[in-house]
Subunit: 117 residues, 2 copies
DNA sequence: GTGGTTATATCGTGACTCTATATATCGGCC
DNA sequence: GGCCGATATATAGAGTCACGATATAACCAC
């Protein structure tokens, strides 16, 4: 009985969300910093544009996975986001699900007649 | 210098295309059979709907990765697709690229402070 | 010859990213 | 002390793609 109900579009969306959440795992950051850190940690592979980043941040905040607060002490306005408990649980759970899906994906792509190296 | 130019939407599209190409690796098949085989080999995880499958098949044929021929010997019309040489090269090359991307993705998601189990 | 299954095809909708544009503030420069 | 590029957040418009609904047609059972 197929339970998973896999959706390729939702999968792509989840990947973007998880990348952002993972960037916040160590400490709270503002949007611009998140982009720079992800780009740096992935050696330039994953790079967010402005028009992609901010809608996702707003969505994550709306879902209660992150919480954003304006820092006013510095003159330049920055919205600093931090992981909520819900967001932290979501991150670890969904990361495991992504790992499961990609391992099964690679297995199907490689096929049965393919020797493991 | 970031060379990769990663695109999450193209990545999702590629996954669908590669799943179909991999189903044709062993032997030529018609559309309906491709869906059943992928669903079977992935234990029900990856399931294509009609409205998803046929546009992708047409696209792959247009790009020269597969070649479709109508089998007329049987009364029921079936369009049987087979991998072209270009398609076979594309499959192995892109599969390697997908494996690379997902391994780097998981590494970023897990983070540096995560011990490898 | 009617109905259910196999099989291919397309159109419309909706979801999502991406490009372009807008706004605002800081620091350096002269 | 005003200009300008870099930092930083925001949104609207366009384009792309999967997905649901619908259409067509031939096979088989009865």
């Amino acid at each position: 009985m197929p339970e998973d109900d896999f959706d390729i579009q939702g999968f792509a969306r989840d990947i973007n969300e998880l990348l952002i959440l993972s960037a916040l795992r160590s400490e709270p950051k503002h949007g611009y910093q998140i982009v720079l850190d992800i780009e740096n940690e992935s050696n330039g592979l994953f790079r967010f544009r402005h028009g992609t980043l901010y809608p996702i941040l707003h969505r994550l905040e709306k879902e209660g996975l992150i919480r954003g607060t304006w820092s006013k002490d510095v003159g330049r306005r920055k919205k600093v986001y931090s992981l909520t408990g819900k967001g932290r649980r979501h991150l670890s759970g969904e990361t495991g699900r992504v790992e499961d899906v990609v391992s099964r994906l690679v297995r199907v792509l490689r096929g049965p007649d393919q020797a493991p190296a």
